[in-house]
């Protein structure tokens, strides 16, 4: 799926709003499956730890599933920087193949 005006094969395109919505929906599915948080509660501004009550081991499970789903690598040191759902969506959209 290419955004309008992007030049394929030249340089990475900017992620569109639609891409980010798709990532958010996919991430919400994973968060619900791993941590039992309702998908509607998984919104961009929420903090994984403070708002969604997700612990460090569940974060690893979410990262492992996100790697499979979106084709990204999320090493543990990068994972530590993903404080909010929005951070994770931005990371995936910037690093997905």
């Amino acid at each position: 799926m290419l955004a309008g005006g992007a030049k394929p094969g030249k340089r990475e395109r900017e992620p569109t709003v639609a891409d980010k919505e798709e990532i958010l929906a996919g991430l919400a599915e994973i968060v619900e499956e791993v941590a039992g948080v309702a998908q509607d509660d998984v919104s961009l501004e929420k903090s994984f730890v403070d708002d969604l009550d997700i612990d460090s081991l569940s974060m690893v499970e979410i990262a492992v599933q996100a790697e499979d789903k979106f084709g990204v690598k999320i090493p543990d040191d990068e994972l530590a920087n993903l404080k909010t759902v929005g951070d994770a969506v931005n990371y995936v959209s910037a690093n997905a193949k």
């Binding site: 460090s56 081991l57 974060m59 499970e61 492992v64 543990d76």
Partner: protein, 324 residues
């Protein structure tokens, strides 16, 4: 030049008996919350442990190994004099010299035994069982006693809540001997030494783990090792009755079971959860879990059991056995 004679043992081996022991002292999550910032629910959510056993100061690793080994012999109906080799997988002897196995063999009554320790941390028991089986098959040993024994409270900082809530003490053992029918499958083992820094002794004193990286490794890389053990033994995932992963953390145990079910293991697969009442006892956890499950009646003679250990090194090993 003279040609050396070699020996050939029996084609197959099996587990003849199982035994274990735990210290008397029960330590609950509430007990731990008296001495550190934690609580019962936090511990249950993170690691699935409800209580664990801590040895007293004068109860040593070798003492627990002697009791577990003797109980396994009794369960097998094997006299100490019939055993010629004793292997003690462990990683918490108070010092590297002397080893545990020689003194444990002597105290059990296995006089003059071939005796050695194996340090493959929490994978140690499955390494030891693999070695025991192959020593018999090669003709080097007749009957072998394998005893996983640990006193992890010696190497845990009692104020370090990441580790003090997990680790505990105890010993578990199996007697291995020749068999007409194969009762122990080939061992699938290996290591990931590039991840050596994930679990080590800080200042040679206290155990330290990179929690997230160990969790990621264990929940993603161990199920494939278990599947390799099945393949080596010619067993389909759907034929496995009981899964006994090293009791590291209940969430790791459940993650491994989930991956195996996705590969065809049955929904009614019995999964060991001995960690709930025993904590993580490293190389003792697998035989101890089997002993407890046999006594509770959740495992029966003839069941196909898949065992897999994993830990510091990083090291891993697994095999299929038929329950005695």
């Amino acid at each position: 030049m003279s040609r050396l004679r070699i020996k050939q043992g029996p084609a197959a081996t099996r587990v003849l008996g199982v035994g274990s022991t735990q210290p008397e002292r029960v330590v609950t999550n509430d007990d731990l919350s008296q001495v550190m910032e934690t609580d019962d629910q936090w511990i249950r959510d993170r690691v699935g442990i409800i209580e664990r056993r801590f040895a007293d100061k004068d109860e040593l690793l070798v003492d627990m190994a002697v009791v577990a080994g003797s109980r396994a012999l009794e369960d097998a109906g094997v006299q100490p004099s019939e055993v010629d080799t004793v292997i003690v997988p462990n990683c918490t002897m108070p010092s590297p010299i002397p080893n545990a196995a020689a003194q444990v063999a002597d105290r059990i009554g296995v006089k003059g035994a071939g005796a050695f320790d194996i340090n493959a941390a929490c994978a140690g028991f499955c390494y030891g069982l693999g070695v025991a089986s192959d020593l018999i098959r090669s003709g080097s040993a007749g009957k072998v006693l394998v005893i996983g024994a640990e006193k992890l409270t010696d190497v845990v900082d009692p104020t370090d809540r990441a580790n003090a809530i997990i680790f505990a003490d105890g010993a578990g053992a199996m007697v291995v001997g020749p068999s007409d029918e194969p009762g122990i499958g080939p061992v699938a083992w290996g290591s990931a030494g590039d991840l050596v820094d994930a679990i080590y002794m800080r200042d040679h004193r206290y155990i330290y783990q990179e929690g997230q990286s160990v969790f990621r490794w264990a929940t993603t890389q161990i199920a494939p090792i278990a599947l390799r053990a099945l393949e080596l033994a010619g067993v389909e995932p759907s034929d496995v009755d009981v899964l006994i992963p090293h009791q590291a953390n209940l969430r790791i145990v459940e993650a491994i079971a989930k991956r195996l079910r996705a590969k065809g293991a049955r929904d009614d697969l019995v999964v060991a959860d001995d960690i709930k009442y025993s904590g993580n006892t490293s190389s003792a956890s697998i035989p101890m879990a089997l002993d407890h499950m046999r006594k509770a009646g959740t495992v029966s003679s003839g069941d196909v059991i898949l065992m897999v250990g994993f830990g510091a090194g990083l090291s891993y090993a697994g095999q299929v056995i038929i329950c005695p």
